[in-house]
């Protein structure tokens, strides 16, 4: 056992740090630090900065223009990027669709779509969930019927993250109603400009427009946009989910969040002294930090196993649970630290709130982030679903 990085890994870490110090625009990291919303242009700019360095497609094979980083390198980058307050990389095209195309797509599809992901020509969104199909994704009903060279798509997707920015959506659709749920699903690429598609905003409880409903009425999709084989989409969807779960622990984001809480606690006063010296608050912070330190090691253990080719199965579910619980605990600490300055609410949805908020800058996003991050234990396979996976597997082994 050796808990330190190798010389190459340390050199890589230094390289990442230098890059972030030089290339991450200050205005952008300021926005991330203050939790103010990033625009589409911000996210696109960050993608293009990374792409120019060859670091955008971190997990792609080099034949497609990827960096081909191993799991440890990706971990190092994500840790450094979080601490530097870099924007996140929008995962839909890069981390979700691309691996599916690379594994199951045709050469034509790879040649056509992958370069457009890299250079930012396309913004993809994920059309999986439906009003009736959440945890039970396989019960999805959006229908695609083949007519000549096209599929005709009817139905509704929901919770589509950043669908308002997207020009492309990858969808799970039902192509066969005669078979078991999982066996009648296909994976379709759909141009959002096609007639018959309507995107309706959903405002979340923190006032943000982050997700959407996407409605399909007689939408014509060329058959060449089918990925892999008809009715085999569930296999591809599951493959995609394993990629969605990479970096699921969110160690970088939790580290950055905890640092922010500590800074706040030094600045906030309680009983005439800094809040950081209040024994109750200090104990709360220490407890989360202890959990986070252990979780970082679990994460590294699993990552280094993955780097050697082991596939994370159950461990991904475990990291999803501890990672989200810890992240949410940090959000809770931040709102506590803010005291009554957690109360103000700056929402685009509330009239007359475009004036500057009250209280210190560090308090502004905390309540919004606390509520917004309730989502992380709901999406990507809810924590209950992860527990089901762990319990079924472990109890199954006992029998």
């Amino acid at each position: 056992m050796d808990l330190s990085y190798t010389d190459e890994e340390r050199a890589f870490q230094a390289e990442v740090r230098t890059f972030l110090a030089e290339k991450l625009p200050k205005a952008m990291s300021e926005k991330v630090r203050l939790g103010s919303g990033l625009t589409k242009e911000d996210l696109e700019e960050w993608h293009s900065i990374l792409n120019a360095r060859g670091w955008l497609a971190q997990n792609w094979p080099s034949e497609f223009g990827g960096a081909e980083w191993d799991a440890v390198q990706r971990h190092i980058f994500e840790e450094e990027a979080s601490l530097a307050n870099a924007p996140r990389i929008v995962p839909f095209g890069l981390a979700m669709l691309a691996p599916v195309l690379q594994k199951f797509g045709s050469k034509e599809q790879c040649d056509r779509w992958l370069p457009r992901i890299l250079d930012g020509s396309d913004w993809w969104c994920q059309g999986y969930s439906e009003p009736g199909a959440g945890s039970d994704l396989a019960s999805l009903k959006t229908r695609a019927v083949r007519e000549g060279d096209h599929y005709i798509v009817n139905g509704q997707k929901t919770w589509t993250t950043l669908g308002q920015y997207a020009n492309m959506i990858f969808c799970l659709v039902r192509t066969n109603t005669e078979v078991k749920n999982q066996e009648g699903i296909s994976f379709l690429l759909i141009d959002m400009d096609t007639p018959g598609i309507e995107v309706r905003p959903i405002i979340l409880l923190d006032g943000t427009h982050e997700v959407n409903e996407v409605w399909f009425t007689d939408v014509k999709v060329p058959v060449e946009n089918l990925v892999g084989e008809e009715d085999k989409g569930w296999t591809y969807a599951k493959y995609l989910l394993t990629h969605e779960r990479a970096n699921i622990a969110g160690v970088g984001s939790s580290n950055a969040g905890l640092e922010a809480v500590k800074r706040m606690a030094k600045a906030e006063m309680s009983g005439g002294k800094p809040l950081s010296e209040n024994p109750h608050f200090a104990a709360r912070v220490a407890q989360v930090e202890i959990d986070l330190m252990a979780m970082s090691l679990s994460n590294l253990r699993i990552i280094s196993k993955a780097a050697k080719g082991g596939a994370p199965g159950l461990e991904a579910s475990m990291l999803k649970i501890s990672g989200t619980v810890i992240r949410q605990e940090i959000n809770d600490l931040a709102r506590r630290a803010a005291g009554m300055y957690a109360l103000p609410f700056a929402s685009e949805a509330v009239e007359g709130s475009n004036q500057p908020e009250l209280g210190p800058e560090h308090s502004r996003p905390v309540a919004e982030q606390y509520f917004n991050n309730r989502k992380i234990s709901i999406f990507g396979g809810s924590n209950e679903v992860q527990r089901e996976i762990i319990a079924k597997t472990t109890l199954g082994r006992m029998q």
Partner: protein, 371 residues
Amino acid sequence: MNFELTEERQMLQDSLRRFLRDRYDVPTRNAILESESGMSSDIWNQLAELGVLGALFTEEDGGFGGKGFDIAVVFEELGRAGVVEPILETCILGGGLIAALGNETQNGLLESIIGGETRLALAHSEPRARYDLNRVETRCEGGKLNGHKTMSLGAPNADHIIISARESGAVDDKEGISLFLVPVSDLELRSTPMMGGGMAADIWLENVVVTEEMRLGPVGSALPYLETVYAAAITANCAQTLGAMETATRLTTEYLQTRKQFGRPIGTFQALAHRLADMFVELEQARSAVIGVAGYLEADPKLRDKHASMAKNLMGRIGRLIGEESIQMHGGIAMTQEYELAHIAKRIIMADHLFGDVDYHLERFIAMSAA
């Protein structure tokens, strides 16, 4: 011992619940939340007509209630419906201080408060005070106020604001704090909507002139009165959170019965059913905490404040559990602004940031319990 409500309070509860069910439905409330003033004058007037504001004052102050259990009954219903109008600010904080300290002219305001014509707010909190009541840096010298009052709840919709200022002593002395009743037209406010609904404002005081007529109560001895209205405010806040938790639990129960995944209602998954059961267990604890704080509100300050801290700490902890669990067990739908639970959950959680949070009241409880 008797845990039944009196007949009058039972009637008040029934009529208020019915009124809010009919007139304060989710679309109405969402429209109020998105409006510039963050409240409805229409609803305000109707609540006054219904006697809801009068129920928060004693007979000698022109009302017909004013005891801990009157406050608890009214605010539990307001909380159940997620009402955001500044009733606590006007009647409990502002009205409570006037009733306790007002001279004859100032007492004249009580009638117009109860009638719905006047609204009040208290500007006591300060940026470095956190939840401490004795920590007042704002000064009153030579008839002029200087300082920074922060997060004055309900101030943007108030006609008069009660401002606390120090006339003597160090920033954290118990003695030396005075109150002034100032017309809002004398002040410059910077307003903000709040996460759980309603409005608050910061007030920067720069040589704001106060006359002797504006003085509320004796010189330099306001702290015990502030502590008394805060105990009442904690009662109201806890009762309101209890009402909101009842709604959250009801909505979650209904959702678990009706939402189907994997071909069956999700409430049939034991992983969820047991957690709903825990919510009900905690809800009973919360109900007792509210009865405790309401029942001891008229007791001597030590006993009163011990129960206030007990209740506020407990409601903060249970509130977090019920707020978070009800969102989690709903899944994505609870994350949307439009769905009823979103506002209710926000009110439950944000209630912890008013009048001292879980940690503040734990510390105060330790101090009182050890003494």
